[in-house]
């Protein structure tokens, strides 16, 4: 039996006034198992980034429960508990230009985490650790004294990854970590993430809108639309046998680097349907879940 590292139960995250809230995340539930990569895909505004940030406790959630290693993350009241939580869970951000402080050197950025947590009292040890982290993400020790603007986009994202690794977390939320990078650099960063996962047994929540990369990196995929998860299953299963019409439409819109295929490709349009109130998460096939009513499901299958 695989161990659930993260359980999200009926997470609701509203913004704005209570009267007319913006329902960014509107009641989603999913589990992430230890050592896997769960891909969270959807179009802009569907709530995928909000989900990641809510789990990270960057927002006060409106309703629901987030259990990390069996403990409700919003029950942490003391600073000590919160700090412990953030040693276990870290985030990689989308924009490697905006997410690094331009007035700090790469070394300071990476070391900030362990300075706050008081991990290395000894200067030499601290320097040693910075060097190790830089090397583990494919940079050099000498880079520690440089500022962010002296690095290319791909290198900056490596610094962001080194910072996320600095506290030796078990769970990393990667929010569109490659979408600001060039194609050839994207592959470098994805390979690095895969390799680190193998070496350190990391668990990833990988948030992205680029479906082909998500398919490549994820073990399972959750498809989000308007604050809800419509479909969740193994990556290959979602790609080869999508059930929800929205997923089918989304997949049919992805252009592939194959001219003959592109000439024959037929896009399936999706007409928005309000999810009925009596819709429930149904296991339509083995490990393949869809948000639907029974009538809808029998129509789609």
């Amino acid at each position: 039996m695989r161990k659930k590292i993260l359980e999200v139960k009926n997470l609701i995250q509203h913004f704005g006034s209570a009267k007319e809230p913006i329902k960014a995340v509107d009641g989603i539930s999913f589990d992430v198992f230890e050592g896997e990569t769960l891909g969270l895909v959807g179009e802009s505004g569907c709530g995928k980034s909000t989900t990641g940030r809510s789990i990270m406790r960057l927002y006060d959630i409106t309703e629901g429960e987030i259990l990390f290693n069996g403990k409700n993350v919003n029950s942490y009241t003391s600073r000590k508990d919160s700090m412990q939580f953030h040693r276990e869970m870290q985030m990689i951000f989308q924009d490697p230009y905006a997410s690094l402080n331009p007035r700090m050197t790469a070394g300071e950025i990476i070391a900030e985490g362990f300075d706050i947590h008081g991990l290395y009292k000894n200067k030499k040890e601290r320097q040693q650790k910075i060097g190790e982290l830089l090397e583990s993400v494919g940079l050099n020790r000498e880079h520690a004294n440089r500022y962010a603007h002296e690095f290319s986009g791909g290198q900056r994202q490596r610094i962001g990854i080194a910072r996320a690794l600095s506290l030796n977390p078990s769970f990393i939320i990667a929010d569109e970590p490659i979408s600001a990078l060039d194609v050839s650099i994207q592959a470098q960063v994805v390979n690095l993430l895969k390799q680190l996962q193998k070496e350190r047994g990391l668990t990833y929540l990988f948030i992205a809108h680029d479906l082909s990369m998500v398919k490549y990196i994820s073990d399972r995929i959750a498809v989000m639309y308007r604050g809800k998860i419509l479909e969740l299953g193994l990556a290959d299963e979602i790609y080869n046998n999508p059930i929800h019409p929205y997923t089918k439409s989304l997949l049919s819109a992805v252009p592939q680097p194959n001219p003959e295929y592109e000439r024959k490709r037929v896009r399936i349009p999706y007409k928005h349907e309000e999810t009925p109130a009596n819709a429930e998460v149904i296991e339509a096939r083995h490990d393949h879940f869809v948000l639907a009513t029974k009538e809808q499901l029998s129509k789609w299958l």
Partner: protein, 348 residues
Amino acid sequence: MKKKLLDVKNLHVHFKTYAGIVQAVRGVNFELYEGETLAIVGESGSGKSVTSNALMKLIPQPPGIYAGGEIHFNGKSLISLSEKEMLAIRGNEMAMIFQDPMTALNPTMRIGKQITEVLLKHKKADSKEAAKRRAIELLDQVGIPFPEKRYKTYPHELSGGMRQRVVIAIALAADPKLLIADEPTTALDVTIQAQILELMKEIQKSSNTSIIFITHDLGVVANVADRVAVMYAGQIVEYGTVEDIFYDPKHPYTWGLLGSMPDLNNSSDELLRAIPGSPPNLINPPIGCAFAPRNELALAIDFEEEPPMFQVSETHFAKTWLQHPNAPHIPIPEVVARRIASSRGGEA
């Protein structure tokens, strides 16, 4: 025989910066025929956007310099034209679709007015009323529902996809012969991207417009292009029909690009074939082949002498020493070969 609309010969564009002269475009050659789509692919900094801005003579001078070469468009030599003469061509015979529809539109002006402005400026309508009628027609043509109503809206009232349709309507207003689309779908979601690509193809079919499509997304290239130019470090390194580039690529950089994309049909056990390193600094472009420092398959000569453009077939050109008759035979990397084989199987 199709008519040649655009002929770019040995174009060089430089920028003066504090650090030195950046050679952003270093000898680009291509031609474009009526009714066809040429995709220019490359990473950021490869010179693809500078090339397209140069075609429109939109390079600010200073710091930009047209350091050499010629651009022949529809019988005119653009480099020697004055700004005033360019004004008559820009937006009229050639028009541009920009990447970000929010910054391309004027946020303080109703979208209808932004279209009639072009029509009146280029004398495509005799009166304001005629211009309005035509603008509504254009909004309708680009698939905006209720065009009469939308005519009076401001850009912020529309979604990203709708805004990009407005940008396209503006570009189409004067019925241009050449549309330059600089990453027109990069800021959009995939489903909206698919709609915009379909729209552009439809427009091209009905009005025989030529399109230069700039993108870094190989999937989009496969969808829209008739011919493809792959740019790297300010030069075109491979040039051919879309089939040449995707099914018979010859340049190691093109192999790298194809290999670094995940293959949807195969399992994800293996690592992607990433291109190591990063693109060169164009203040001091490398001697020899610009891609050599990142190329695991580079030959000794790649570091010494810049390869010429070799002709592979009637339509296909590649700037790599591998095409020299005396070059050792270096097979295409296995990952890329496998992908080509699987995509040629017709199944995807």
